[in-house]
Subunit: 197 residues, 2 copies
DNA sequence: GTCTATACTCAGATAGAC
DNA sequence: GTCTATCTGAGTATAGAC
């Protein structure tokens, strides 16, 4: 899961702009990143940026789109490799933790940027497909009877809220140990809360 | 828990500015709220705003300070009224849910604004006192043996991450039912994950 | 498609009268 | 302490040559 912009038909300069945008938006935030900042960091001129993207907002939107696409692909891959609900849940959590450790900047941007502040048209992140995928695994568990009956959103909050919270603590520098250190404790506790008696 | 700026020695116009700032920062975000916006909404002039606050960032910082102070006071109140760890945890969660329903805007600003983007000097929110207080209840439970031994941060993530996640879903409009509907399911599941055998 | 130069807007902040 | 008027600069976006 190396490069987020490898896919398809992106021109080289567009790729460099997206790469710089990811770095700078994460580091300083969308509003604190000016076009001149992007020009300096990417080595691509103002004119070319506006040739490649309608405006700054469109640039952010497209960036978001690419990141989500990569994430969706990885999730699909995990689901394909694991069949039972328990295996899927554990594998997805492991992937979430590893992803956050490998790409803290991307994780930060995806999870905690206030997207609607600079992309008014885009839907809230938790309505995005990757979050649906996570929820669907819980739903599947409830339907097959592996997980106890309760409101799906509540069950999902237990299942992933704890994980996301730990990731946030990690990203904020509160955690002193690597994320994966806590994989077993975390998943076993969550599973205890969710599994059918 | 009505007014966040009632306390102490705030001048009337300062109070109006803070009130407007809370509304607008939440509605449109810090960067999308201009000083002219604040002037129009509060009815206080530019000059008076800059008389009351050093600059826009200081305004945001002071706003944050007031909100956190109110929250700390309410938490202290809850702890004073409940003695056992279980009672305290359940009461704190109930308060979190009720608070989010009563003051969605404040909750949104406290939890999900990217504070460091406009208040570079302020520490991450999860290092703030209210979050310490939540964690300390878990710590107390582990020390008294009511809760099972595990990393405190992991236990806290289970205990409150699920709650915060549900709140986020609520604030994003994904939940169709009132938050308190899920109080029992949520707390019982979390407790199941955390309680000693 | 890429660049440089530039136009235009409007935000943040200040000066200074009352 | 409150206001109006104003400055200054940064930042988005465009024009137009190559």
């Amino acid at each position: 899961m190396a490069n987020f912009f490898d896919a398809s038909d992106i021109s080289p300069s567009k790729k460099r702009i997206l790469q710089s945008a990811l770095t700078l938006f994460v580091e300083k935030g969308f509003f604190n990143t000016s076009i001149p900042d992007l020009v300096e960091h990417s080595g691509v001129s103002t004119g070319s940026i506006y040739h490649a993207f309608k405006d700054k907002e469109a640039l952010a939107t497209e960036l978001m789109h690419h990141l989500l696409a990569t994430i969706e692909a990885e999730q699909a891959d995990i689901l394909a490799r694991h069949q039972t609900v328990k295996a899927r849940y554990f594998a997805l959590v492991e992937w979430m933790l590893r992803f956050a450790e490998a790409y803290p900047d991307v994780e930060q941007f995806i999870l905690y940027a206030r997207h609607k502040e600079f992309m008014p048209s885009v839907k809230p992140i938790c309505s995005a497909k990757p979050f649906m995928t996570l929820r669907d695994v819980i739903l599947e568990g409830q339907e097959t009877g592996v997980l106890r009956q309760m409101d799906v959103m509540v069950a999902s909050s237990i299942a992933y809220g704890s994980v996301l919270r730990l990731i946030q603590l990690y990203l904020d520098g509160v955690l002193s140990t690597p994320l994966m250190t806590h994989f077993d404790e975390l998943t076993e506790a969550a599973w205890r809360a969710l599994a059918a008696e």
